[in-house]
Symmetry: C2
């Protein structure tokens, strides 16, 4: 590589650049990667963050949460929460603060391949899929159809090939499976067979956790191996906003924690519907609910890995319908990210959702704006970051592929402006301006930086109108369909043939 770079620099100009760009780039030289540090964008001042925190504590103390399961009531009241005559559990400030002190920080969400491990600390940013879409967007016909297990598996395979999608949380419901247990097991296996990146799933019933974990033990090679590196986390909608526990999801969460599975404490209110309309107060409610979750988890198992999942969504208040692609969504999500930093807890929220039904210009601006604000706010886990349409109702495989391009640009923004001695020395300007060529093309510095400082889109088109015409005016969607098909044609199953055969023998598997 060094030899090659030296030769290229000598030959200069376009040929050198072409040679250089064809050379593979070492992982550590790539312009972007998982875990880049955000935090350059702060929608809230420190004083405002304190104020929202104070309001959340007030809400926990004065309003509390209703409808905890019996097991949860016992766990939380033993820790110091107070069960009122109205059935609501209220949380004294001291209890919340104690539990915050016990909560796990700097957690790692494992990939089945350790190179895909996600280190959730500080402002480190990771993007991935999520959701429970019930449709797949078919771009050949511009129609919506029911999502299937095969679609989910294909999305996992695509994720495996897309550098800027760092984890794969279940994004679609396998609607070709009528039995809910079969669906939960296929969800896990379709994801694991498609990618070695960290996986998120969501059990539909508490009783499904045990068989799900049994399957995961098989995939991991035994319980010890699973517990050493749990590569699947469970997404728990443990609350039904406003300020109510979700009984079954709480029970499932308890089972996951016993099984050593990291959990996502997911509070998904909708501002103006199930959460307050003011963005600030919607954040307060989400934070209060997730703090209740922190108490719950740490009272049950001190320091168990949990992601602080404040996912407030936006209602289009004209209709009450959800809007995931709005500016208000971007503000909610990045405001939440600041609250996560305040607590020093690993946090996640939603961004990258499009309200558009298709991967069109609207989808581009919605996904671009919401993802870049999430990234710049230093959100550790950006869920639903690619492929999501129709305000979460539709998933589009080609859009996932296009989303990888968006996330590349977003990650480049997160990486920010390198200010180093070399990057600010005017010697390079002197060499060019004072007796030099009068331009920077082919200069040593330009060649050095062309792959490490700049990121190039895989599908984004930068041709001139003339080149574009001569290339028969390629359309973005056609290119995305083509790339999706190419990736899927080459994708390998990420499970050994023996294990795959054994699993297909024991389970009714719905994808090939």
């Amino acid at each position: 590589m060094t030899e090659m770079r030296r030769r290229s620099a000598r030959s200069g100009g376009r040929a050198a650049r072409v040679a250089l760009r064809n050379a593979p780039l070492a992982e550590n030289l790539r312009p972007v990667r998982a875990g880049l540090e955000g935090g350059q964008y702060k929608p809230l001042t420190d004083v405002q963050v304190q104020r929202l925190h104070g309001a959340a504590l007030d809400a926990l103390e004065q309003i509390g949460l209703s409808q905890a399961p019996a097991s949860g009531i016992e766990i939380m009241t033993q820790a110091g929460a107070v069960l009122g005559d109205d059935g609501r559990i209220r949380f004294p400030r001291a209890l919340v603060e104690d539990m915050l002190a016990k909560a796990a920080r700097d957690i790692t969400l494992c990939g089945r391949d350790p190179k895909h491990d996600l280190h959730l600390s500080g402002n480190k940013v990771h993007f991935g899929t999520a959701g429970a879409a019930v449709h797949v967007v078919d771009l050949e016909t511009n129609t919506y159809r029911d999502s299937t297990t095969q679609d989910l598996h294909n999305a996992a395979k695509l994720t495996q090939a897309l550098d800027n999608v760092h984890f794969f949380q279940r994004a679609m419901v396998c609607r070709d499976i009528a039995d809910n247990l079969e669906m939960d097991l296929n969800t896990i296996y379709a994801a694991c067979a498609g990618t070695t990146k960290h996986i998120g799933t969501s059990f539909s019933e508490p009783a499904h956790v045990a068989p799900g974990i049994a399957l995961l033990h098989k995939i991991a090679g035994g319980e010890d191996a699973w517990r050493a590196r749990p590569f699947v986390s469970n997404s728990n909608c443990f609350v039904v906003p406003p300020m109510k526990f979700a009984e079954e999801s709480c029970q499932a969460m308890e089972a996951c924690i016993h099984a050593g599975m990291p959990v996502l404490l997911l509070s998904a209110g909708q501002a103006g519907a199930t959460a307050p309309a003011p963005i600030a107060l919607a954040i307060v409610q989400a934070v209060a609910e997730c703090l209740a979750g922190v108490v719950y988890v740490n009272a049950l198992a001190s320091g168990h890995p949990a992601v602080f999942g404040t996912w407030p969504f936006v209602s289009d208040l004209r209709t009450g319908a959800m809007s995931g692609g709005s500016a208000e969504q971007a503000l909610l999500t990045s405001g939440c990210a600041q609250m996560h930093k305040f607590y020093g807890l690993p946090g996640g929220a939603a961004a990258g959702i499009s309200d558009s039904k298709l991967p069109d210009m609207q989808a581009g601006w919605e996904q671009g704006i919401t993802n870049v604000l999430a990234g710049l706010s230093g959100l550790n886990m950006v869920y639903e970051a690619a492929g999501m349409h129709a305000s979460l109702l539709g998933f589009c495989l080609e859009s996932l592929v296009l989303g990888d391009d968006i996330l590349g640009q977003v990650l480049r923004c997160v990486r920010g402006i390198d200010v180093t001695e070399d990057n600010t020395s005017i010697e390079a300007m002197k060499a060019v301006c004072l007796g030099g060529p009068g331009h920077y093309l082919g200069s040593e510095q330009t060649l050095q930086l062309m792959q490490t400082e700049y990121i190039y889109p895989a599908l984004g088109n930068r041709m001139s109108p003339k080149e574009w015409n001569e290339a028969d005016r390629p359309m973005l969607i056609d290119q995305a369909i083509k790339r999706k098909n190419e990736i899927l044609a080459k994708a390998q199953i990420q499970i050994s043939p023996e294990l795959d055969a054994a699993i297909r023998k024991d389970y009714n598997i719905y994808f090939h």
Copy 2:
């Protein structure tokens, strides 16, 4: 309005929301407007800003700029700049600091209608068009054709109707006009006849300034009226990066200043080609060049209104071609905005450019990401913010209309999260959770905020898949074409019939 709101709140639910959204919103209640304050995003630390400033001063002192016109050499050397034997003008630090102290701050760029005045101070953000596209993108055929005076006039008319496009700088070259003076005059008149918002033009030759100003006096109603409220500024590419003055453009700039016209000091280097490849050093060069411009302008006319126009662009280093839609572009532009704040000068840069040839998903993410970062960085003037394709070679009228939606979302992000007593009080949560309806739909607070806290897209589609199907799956581009045609069909000429007739008698006007 108050009466109506009270009634609506009482009736509750969907009917109330529908009634409310149909009521017109007072200007001061609109969720977004021109001049919202950004600054929540800071790609550079204060120390880094200082470092770039120091490097720019070093470059001015040690490298300087070549090729100033004789008049400029005289103006600048009399002020204290040093002409070297190599023909380069170098600028001692003290001179730059003196001229920075004299430079106009908090300037107003006037609209012909005062309600469109742009107040350039602090982090106030304004979005508008700009550029010199030579093509128009025809979406009926997906082809590029030469841009005409009529296209430019139509773009001005659209801008007049689009709330989130705050100024209209010449975006296209009138390629149907062979004579350059006729072209410059038609450019001015096509813009003025289309919009009463602030206009930017660019004279192609110094000799054209006088006849252009004569036309502007007519439109203004005399020289005094023009000088009292100059509603057109001139975009001066006064440098040819790296570090060279552009002789003719400098002469045109001098003439504009004498005529009382605000100027845009425009430095448009291309990182990796005419500017250094490192983003930080490209900013340094642009800042150095614009500081030279500040010396030039203020030595000629102390305190003359000038916009600090650091417009570094990005090269795709694989090909040397320009890329305006990249993450690196967003970083360059927002880094520059921070430098403007450091100097306390009114500043402008480019964002919102798409490299895509069409208003597709790529265009959406490129325009969305670059515009939102520009806005959040508090850039006073965001040029090329809508309509621009093919890395500035093509302008698309429908994309301008779609851009208004993007800019609405961007402005909503710039406005940020309101944190007030009302917006963080948990009383609203108590009312809903403790014996209340258990949801926030139709609550007093929700109704109050639905139009002041939330912005709704004009073209962005938030239907469910079912509604979308029932509406025959409307395509975004078709809707944009329709809205463009509707606006143009209703648009009025913004010049009195008498004056218009007089001008058409004296000049060869190329649009109707």
